[in-house]
């Protein structure tokens, strides 16, 4: 009992939050909807009122002229109300149509404000999967908008139809109290039956829906077709391999994986949904028939004390009232369901930053006198047992160029990620001019770094916007930065890629890399870090980048990571990483002397192919 109360309380809180969210997205939506449905329902009931009034008057042969005039005046009012309704409906439609987009904006902003370590984490990945599932079944925020609309409609309909049928209670029901009691009780029973049945089926559907899109524990549960079609596990560049290696048979095998399970569950879901909707319709029609039956009988028994038109009007009104009441309960149910399907979204929007973010401003220095120190830093990636960085101590000397070399997975990139606080180390600390970097304001701290990662990405915006990260840019400086990297041949306002603007051009990997480097230069920060910046470049382009880079990085602290040891040779300070530790440090000439060292091995592995004969 207590747990049920708890669930009820939780549902209540989420529903309230959902209403608030709708209200925040469009403050005018709720009042507008109320107004619109009042107008709409009034207009409809005036129509019923007029037709039934004429019917009664005709039955008692009253004069025609005043009847016609009265009818036309009423019809005209109804027409005006109807126009108000449709006018507001159009407005509401636009709001609803773009509710997804409004919510998308909210989610995207949230995403950009999360800490990087949370983004890569398992928790967020699962949460996002849950959100996708929930949006699919609950039709997202649009579902909330539309169900709220229904609920308001039903409420107003119940109120107006009740008001219009109130006179029937005083006349018919008073005279035929026994029959009326039976009638009212059967209507109430109908409502209760209908609501509990629909509740039952609804719950069943909910469980089945979750089953279809549950976490992937069971291999047979995943319908892989969608993953293939949407290129989530197969990309368009994979086609050539599939062809050359004749992989069709294997792909066919997996295409229909999980089809059996899904067909079975979807068919079950279809049955439950069918029962759910059938219940609603059947009970509605029963209540209507009951209204006709009882009111006609009552009218007959009472010796036609009530005008014929009135009978019809009462039937329609009481029918509308019960119908709407049933629908109202149903819609509240489905709103609860929608709210439950928003639980994941709210959880996402409520995610807090898991990192400590200080407020300390970074001292602005024109002389770039910044010093970075790693002190006994150890780090392992979340969910990983092995340390990627072990007890690392290191100072970055101001204005010097430093190269980091090492095998794959030795912790080179991880070190940079720690430096720019994409992750925080578990042990030890990183200091900027003697102060722990966690204490600095993150945005200001990041102003110190320009980084080009191996897996950098560009937007399909114009080249200039990609370099400047702004809509107002300094054209000359952009061209200067691009020239330094050896980029040429394209206007800077050309979009790179066709996804944003179809007039864009497709750039080669090398050109993209050059733009990414230009972006780092444009930022003009004290530290510049390059992680394998030339992997996609050919020898000539690589040479260009490096020779230009020496020029640019003159008075900056620069760190390179490279597999190509040749490019590091000109650094005074070369650090060799192995298994998360620094194993060697020094310049090329000293490092190469020790023939047992890792550096020697790495160097000779590459150099032996280039030695001049």
């Amino acid at each position: 009992m207590a747990s049920k109360l708890k669930i009820f309380h939780k549902n209540y809180i989420i529903s309230k939050r959902l209403v608030r969210t709708v209200h925040e997205l469009y403050p005018r939506y709720i009042p507008m909807t109320i107004l619109r449905h009042i107008a709409g329902r009034l207009s409809a009931f005036i129509g019923i009122y007029v037709s039934t009034m004429i019917l009664s008057e005709l039955a008692i042969h009253s004069p025609v002229k005043p009847l016609i005039i009265k009818s036309i005046i009423l019809l005209f009012t109804a027409c005006i109300l109807r126009l108000i309704n449709t006018f507001l409906e159009k407005k509401a439609e636009v709001m609803r149509e773009f509710s997804y987009e409004m919510m998308d904006c909210k989610n995207a902003e949230k995403m950009m404000n999360l800490d990087y370590q949370d983004i890569e984490g398992d928790y967020l990945r699962r949460l996002r999967e849950r959100i996708d599932t929930d949006n699919w079944w609950g039709s997202g925020i649009y579902g909330a908008f539309i169900t709220m609309d229904y609920i308001i409609y039903q409420c107003i309909n119940v109120i107006i139809s009740a008001a219009m049928s109130v006179t029937v209670i005083s006349t018919l029901f008073y005279q035929e109290s026994l029959l009326s009691a039976v009638f009212l009780i059967s209507l109430t029973m109908l409502i209760i039956f209908n609501t509990s049945l629909q509740f039952y089926y609804n719950k069943k559907c909910f469980v089945l829906q979750d089953k279809i899109s549950s976490e992937r524990d069971n291999i047979e549960d995943t319908d892989l077709l969608n993953e293939f079609v949407d290129y989530r596990c197969f990309s368009d560049t994979d086609i050539k391999e599939a062809k050359l290696y004749n992989a069709e048979e294997l792909i066919y095998k997996y295409l229909d994986y999980g089809k059996k399970f899904h067909t079975y569950t979807i068919n079950r879901l279809a049955k439950e949904e069918g029962k759910y909707y059938m219940t609603g319709d059947v009970f509605r029609i029963i209540s209507k028939c009951l209204c006709y039956l009882f009111i006609t009988i009552m009218a007959t028994i009472s010796g036609n004390a009530v005008a014929i038109g009135m009978v019809i009007r009462y039937v329609i009104c009481i029918d509308e009232m019960t119908g709407s009441f049933m629908a109202l309960l149903r819609d509240i149910q489905s709103f609860l369901k929608t709210a439950k399907r928003h639980d994941s979204t709210f959880e996402y929007l409520d995610m807090r930053s898991s990192m400590y973010h200080g407020k300390l401003p970074v001292e602005k220095r024109s002389d770039n006198e910044y010093e970075i120190e790693f002190r006994n830093v150890s780090f392992k990636y979340p969910g990983n047992n092995e340390y990627s960085i072990r007890n690392l101590s290191l100072k970055l000397h101001i204005g010097e160029k430093m190269a980091i070399v090492g095998k794959n997975g030795s912790g080179k990139t991880t070190m940079i990620k720690l430096l720019c606080r994409l992750y925080d180390p578990q042990e030890g600390e990183i200091l900027l001019n003697g102060i722990n970097i966690r204490k600095f304001d993150y945005k200001e701290y990041m102003q110190l770094f320009s980084i080009v990662f191996q897996d950098f990405s560009l937007f399909d915006f114009s080249i200039a916007e990609n370099v400047a990260i702004s809509d107002n840019y300094d054209k000359e400086r952009i061209e200067e930065c691009l020239n330094l990297t050896g980029f040429s041949g394209h206007e800077i306002d050309v979009p790179c890629g066709k996804k944003y603007d179809e007039n864009g051009i497709l750039l080669s990997g090398g050109e993209k890399q050059k733009i990414a480097i230009a972006r780092a230069l444009y930022k003009d920060s004290a530290f510049i870090l390059l992680d394998e910046p030339t992997a996609a470049l050919d020898p000539v382009a690589e040479y260009e980048v490096y020779s230009a880079f020496n020029e640019i990085a003159k008075n900056k602290t620069a760190v390179y990571i490279s597999h190509r040891l040749s490019s590091c040779r000109f650094c005074k300070d070369i650090i060799v990483f192995d298994k998360g530790k620094i194993v060697q440090r020094g310049n090329h000439d000293t490092l190469i002397k020790d023939e047992n060292s890792l550096y020697y091995k790495l160097w000779t592995a590459q150099a032996k192919y280039y030695s001049t004969k």
């Binding site: 007029v50 004429i54 019917l55 016609i68 027409c79 006018f87 159009k90 439609e93 773009f98 998308d104 902003e109 990087y116 983004i119 892989l224 993953e227 079609v229 990309s235 560049t237 994979d238 086609i239 004749n246 294997l250 997996y254 068919n267 279809a270 949904e273 059938m278 609603g280 319709d281 009951l290 006609t296 007959t300 036609n304 014929i308 019809i312 039937v315 794959n408 997975g409 990041m446 770094f449 950098f456 990405s457 937007f459 399909d460 990260i469 944003y500 050919d538 000539v540 020779s547 020496n550 597999h563 040749s566 490019s567 000109f570 650094c571 790495l602 160097w603 590459q606 192919y609 030695s611």
Partner: protein, 610 residues
């Protein structure tokens, strides 16, 4: 040049097409939907019959028993009809979800089965996206299945109401039809406006979606934080949303006229109907019960007209999607090509000859490969070098039959590639590309690219050992039956970039084709791993023809011959020593790259130009 022929079938033909497909997909669904049509007609008609009966019962002062009998039996009938109708409709609709799957599968298989040069083009991708629209929100194929029965119901009801009204007054009927046409005209104007703004809307929507996706992508997350793009992107996003809303408001305003005209027409209709019916009742021409029936018919009549217009309008919209679908699905499959010779013998290795081959991408204006001729003898090891964009990968795609040259001929073992069966050409090559395909299958299946029961385990393990992955996998407890990627299993294997590259090598080794092509196989590897591959290269390629593509010229030293590709043509070829001595382009490249590795002393930061 148009690669893909646009298809433009009319609505009827597409309805027949969808009907045929749905019939193949599941016979019961289509039949049920047709069977319940009569139910769909009776239920709404009861709405106007019911009041008539009640009024008649009251005016004739029937006794309670008669009332109970008549209304009771109608009620029971209606309840049953409604129950059956709704249940059937809803269950069939839900089950049609799988009809979408039917088309999605077809769409995917087309990607796999059509010619590679087509499937790679942007035109193909646009067409594919358009075809996939049938399976997204609009779900056009399903909607057609549902709309057609509803349309039949609408038309039947329209005819039924017309016949009721024709007994009353022809004038009213004419008015109803004329007003329906007027409302339709206004509604059409609305659609015309929607057509005009459609492109703007789609454009803004695409831009907006692009930005939203990028903001939320994990791929972008690092760059967004490092360059503090947060504020910039937020502003852009909001601005694009505002653009969208502006267009939407313009569109919605267009609807006012049709709404106003509809309301006015209905006002006039109701007034005329009342006046007419009242006078007729007073004159005694019709009974009170008929008054209700006729009035219901008059107001209901325009509803059916509106419904018919609405459904036809929607069907036409869905028709566009279906045409897009058929345009895409009608792209010929590769296997649809005329049967080709199947007699390529690979016993004595592979011998490749290019004769004046030129190739350009369908959407491009210049040749990427221009008038190239060369000969690779069986057993030769060739290094292909060149700058970015010189056409190295294109050459591989031509050689392997993925592309067809526009000019010139390519021969495998003396046979023109055009006369050969494509599968046979493919069987001659093992290729390691720069981008990797990992399927959500087991490790063994990923190596063999064959279903589990066809995987030769010993060969797969051998391939893993040679690629340098076996020990590491063994340590991590990975077997050939472990699933890869997170798609199927949360515990699936995820490989690093370097491991993927090795995995691709293992795949090529498993296939063991006579011609091995390696396209930059070491770009993601560290020097020691790279050296390892280089050293193995000799053993791997023994008794095979091989082509090694690399930026790193070191790879050229263990090749028999070097091709230097520039601007789509081979400008230098020969051994390393020959080319180095010739002091041409190759020598220049080599010097740039070997510069730092050389042992002579030199001051850093020196100008080392060429």
């Amino acid at each position: 040049m148009n690669l893909i022929h646009e298809k433009n079938y009319n609505l009827i033909r597409n309805i027949i097409y969808i009907a045929r497909c749905s019939f193949i997909f599941d016979k019961s669904i289509v039949l049920t939907l047709l069977i319940i049509i009569p139910f769909g007609i009776i239920i709404p008609v009861s709405d106007i019959i019911f009041p008539k009966i009640v009024v008649e019962l009251l005016t004739t002062k029937a006794d309670v028993f008669t009332i109970l009998l008549i209304i009771g039996s109608i009620s029971i009938l209606l309840t049953i009809l409604t129950g059956v109708y709704r249940y059937m409709l809803e269950t069939r609709e839900s089950r049609l979800t799988f009809f979408i799957r039917y088309f999605r599968k077809k769409i995917f298989l087309k990607t796999l089965n059509c010619k590679y040069c087509i499937s790679e083009s942007t035109e193909f991708n646009t067409k594919r996206e358009a075809a996939l629209m049938v399976s997204y929100y609009s779900r056009s194929a399903v909607q057609i299945c549902l709309h057609v029965p509803t349309l039949i119901i609408d038309i039947a009801c329209f005819l039924l109401y017309s016949s009721i009204l024709s007994t009353l007054n022809i004038g009213i009927m004419i008015y109803l039809i004329v007003s329906a046409i007027i409302v339709y005209m206004f509604a059409r104007q609305e659609t015309v406006c929607a057509e005009h703004t459609k492109e703007d809307l789609a454009k803004s929507k695409r831009k907006f979606n692009y930005v939203i996706r990028q903001c939320q992508s994990i791929q972008m997350a690092k760059d967004i934080r490092i360059y503090n793009m947060n504020g910039w992107l937020t502003i852009r996003m909001r601005k694009l949303l505002d653009d969208l809303l502006v267009i939407a408001h313009i569109r919605s305003k267009q609807g006012y006229m049709s709404q106003i005209s509809g309301a006015v027409m209905d006002l006039i209709r109701d007034s005329i109907a009342y006046i007419c019916l009242i006078t007729m009742t007073i004159k005694g021409n019709i009974a009170l019960g008929d008054f209700m029936l006729y009035f219901g018919a008059i107001t209901g009549f325009s509803n059916w007209v509106v419904q018919i217009i609405y459904h036809i309008k929607n069907l036409r919209i869905y028709n566009i999607d279906i045409n897009a679908l058929r345009t895409y699905l009608d792209i010929p499959d590769e296997t649809n090509e005329a049967e080709k010779a199947n007699n390529l013998s690979l016993k004595n290795g592979v011998d490749i000859q290019f004769e004046h081959v030129s190739f350009r991408y369908p959407e491009s204006s210049h040749d990427i490969i221009h008038d190239i001729s060369f000969h690779i003898h069986s057993g030769e090891h060739i290094a292909l070098v060149g700058l970015n964009g010189s056409g190295k990968t294109t050459l591989v795609k031509l050689m392997t039959g993925l592309y067809e040259p526009q000019k010139g001929s390519i021969y495998i073992n003396g046979k023109d590639i055009r006369t050969l069966n494509r599968k046979q050409i493919f069987s001659a090559y093992s290729v390691v590309f720069q981008d990797f395909m990992i399927l959500p299958a087991t490790l063994g299946e990923n190596i063999a690219l064959k279903p589990e029961h066809k995987v030769d385990e010993k060969r797969a393990i051998d391939a893993l050992i040679h690629a340098g992955l076996y020990d590491d996998f063994k340590r991590r407890g990975i077997t050939l039956n472990s699933y890869m990627t997170h798609t199927i299993s949360k515990k699936g294997i995820v490989l690093s970039g370097g491991e993927k590259q090795k995995m691709m090598l293992a795949r090529a080794l498993y296939k063991n084709a006579p011609f091995l092509v390696l396209d930059e196989p070491t770009s993601a590897l560290d020097p020691l791993a790279e050296k390892n591959i280089y050293e193995k290269y000799q053993t791997i390629c023994k008794e095979k023809t091989a082509l090694f593509i690399s930026h790193r010229l070191a790879s050229t030293q263990f090749s028999d011959k070097i091709f230097l590709l520039k601007d789509g043509n081979i400008i230098e070829s020969g051994t390393h020593d020959e080319l180095y001595k010739a002091n041409g382009e190759y020598a220049r490249l080599y010097k740039v790259q070997s510069h730092y590795y050389n042992t002579y002393k030199e001051k850093e930061g020196n100008d080392y130009g060429f």
